[in-house]
């Protein structure tokens, strides 16, 4: 049932939230135009998508009529503008940004997710994730100048101070600080991967955490369960926090780096910004190596084909070709505009419009 018109007519709060979203989009557009980034327009309907096993997609059928008769072809709604923007980078278009709807099926039923949502994605050529941390802070400073002139915003029961620089905390520092667990101790140098067995041994000595490990438990589940239970709720809700250096295993398309004590593709140059419990954006220093990309593609494809409950689709191998052609060093940030609207308007629910 469509309720947009009746909501915008009858609910002043809905109308205000919608207007705020339009105004935020216009500030974002101005910010990047002034920075000299090219605004690009990624296609929504695609013949193929990059394989992402953790997402489900929307499929539709294109029907065209000509002298040859009727032609029907499956099409897929983009889950993010990433592949298209990176192809433009590889083609020499340079730093660019896109403000667009993206589509994801099978999203959680919560006030923070939509199947169709508004996304900002920008790529800075020649930058790494630390440069993008700074751009993100500058973007929020520009948004605050417009929508929170005092530099603070009420959000739920908290008052958030947006002043920069934001607190920066690596994932492993956060684990050490809040749980006294050093994730590098769960790294198995002989296999070059994180080990669920080593993680389980550490947790066996920490029964008070209440984290159970069974034969089916994965390292990734333990990582996320602890992150969600003991770290995210402990972060200061009155200040933005940049969490950085995620496990590379969980961020295969980001540039890898060694651990402090262990060697290998332990961490990924990736950060997320958390503000008052809201996850605002996800950033990588992008992987530019086509072989690593191809291997990641193949791992994702195997997972999609193993999972019986996901829609299968043709994969965008042209994306790997673009990397072979040469993706310049770059760093990209994907930011949920609807979450930014929640934050600046102090809304507990995402706007369904």
């Amino acid at each position: 049932m469509q309720t947009f018109f009746s909501s915008i007519i009858n609910s002043p709060e809905f109308k205000a939230q919608y207007l705020l979203k339009l105004n935020i989009i216009s500030v974002i557009r101005r910010f990047f135009a002034e920075k000299g980034l090219l605004e690009v327009e990624p296609p929504i309907l695609n013949n193929a998508l990059i394989p992402e096993s953790y997402l489900d997609i929307f499929e539709t059928t294109e029907k065209r009529i000509g002298l040859e008769g009727k032609i029907e072809q499956k099409k897929y709604l983009m889950t993010s503008p990433e592949a298209f923007q990176k192809k433009l980078l590889a083609a020499g278009f340079g730093s660019n940004f896109a403000i667009t709807r993206s589509f994801r099926n099978g999203e959680p039923l919560s006030g923070k997710h939509l199947s169709e949502f508004s996304m900002l994605e920008w790529y800075e050529q020649g930058s790494n994730y630390e440069n993008v941390m700074q751009t993100t802070e500058e973007l929020f400073t520009a948004l605050a100048a417009e929508f929170a002139p005092k530099g603070t915003i009420p959000f739920g029961e908290h008052t958030v101070t947006l002043s920069t620089p934001w607190l920066r905390l690596s994932i492993n520092e956060a684990f050490k600080q809040f749980t006294s667990i050093d994730l590098e101790q769960t790294w198995d140098e002989s296999t070059g991967a994180f080990s669920v067995k080593q993680f389980g041994e550490i947790l066996a000595n920490r029964p008070e955490l209440g984290i159970t490990v069974t034969a089916n438990t994965t390292w990734e589940e333990l990582f996320n369960q602890i992150l969600l239970t003991y770290i995210e709720p402990e972060l200061d809700p009155t200040k933005p926090v940049i969490l950085y250096d995620y496990p590379h295993e969980l961020s295969p398309l980001a540039k890898p780096k060694n651990g402090e004590k262990v060697k290998g593709n332990v961490w990924a140059e990736r950060f997320e910004v958390m503000i008052a419990g809201l996850e605002i954006c996800d950033t990588y220093t992008e992987n530019t190596d086509p072989n690593l990309q191809k291997a990641a593609f193949e791992r994702e494809i195997a997972k999609i084909e193993e999972a019986k409950n996901k829609t299968n689709y043709p994969y965008d191998w042209e994306f790997v070709d673009a990397l072979k052609h040469g993706l310049p060093a770059c760093s990209g940030n994907a930011l949920g505009i609807d979450r930014v609207v929640m934050l600046f308007g102090n809304y507990s629910q995402i706007l369904e419009a």
Partner: protein
């Protein structure tokens, strides 16, 4: 044993050797394959509410609780006292565990208590209660529109918003969780 795939609001579980009551539960997927159930749960020994995240499909021990109808006698600052109508034995339950329902409880009425280890640990409150209005401004006859409201005090002391036509002495139905007027009681 219960699977946490079935973990829902209002469930009682044993966790780290302590009894907990699930006050909130939400499906959550951090977007990298695995799924979780994020809960808020109240420790029934300490009344402290903590957040926790269970792996999807993780096994937890569901508490073996019983339900028992008891008569509510009285409340003091911290506790409410109930009586088992079969044995006349009295039991107390901390007011903090009754929470928002406390203001809708009427002495002499029967309520369903949740019993664990032979002690009440919580109350299973009805979704709707019928209570008499003891204080409100005079009724506006004929005004049956429900969008205009006034304040009314109920026999248990709770205050609710009611339509203008409701009068003192009338019995009304109230949703005790949200404290909202549900209609006149028809007897």
């Amino acid at each position: 044993m219960a699977q946490t795939d079935n973990i829902k609001k209002n469930m009682f579980i044993m966790f780290n050797n302590e009894p907990y009551y699930i006050t909130d539960a939400e499906f959550y997927s951090p977007g990298k394959g695995s799924a979780f159930t994020r809960v808020k749960m109240k420790n029934l020994n300490t009344n402290r509410v903590i957040p926790f995240t269970f792996k999807s499909g993780e096994r937890v021990e569901e508490l073996d609780v019983n339900f028992k109808t008891m008569q509510f006698l009285f409340s003091d600052t911290n506790n409410s006292t109930f009586m088992d109508p079969d044995t006349y034995e009295q039991f107390t339950l901390a007011n903090s565990l009754i929470d928002t329902y406390l203001q809708y409880m009427k002495a002499g009425s029967d309520y369903i208590l949740i019993i664990y280890n032979e002690q009440p640990i919580s109350i299973k409150f009805p979704a709707q209660v019928t209570l008499e209005v003891t204080e409100t401004s005079p009724a506006v006859r004929g005004n049956t529109a429900t969008n205009a409201t006034k304040e009314a005090v109920l026999e248990t002391g709770a205050t609710v918003q009611v339509p203008l036509f409701v009068d003192i002495g009338e019995k009304i139905k109230v949703d005790p969780y949200y404290g909202t007027y549900q209609g006149r009681a028809t007897e």
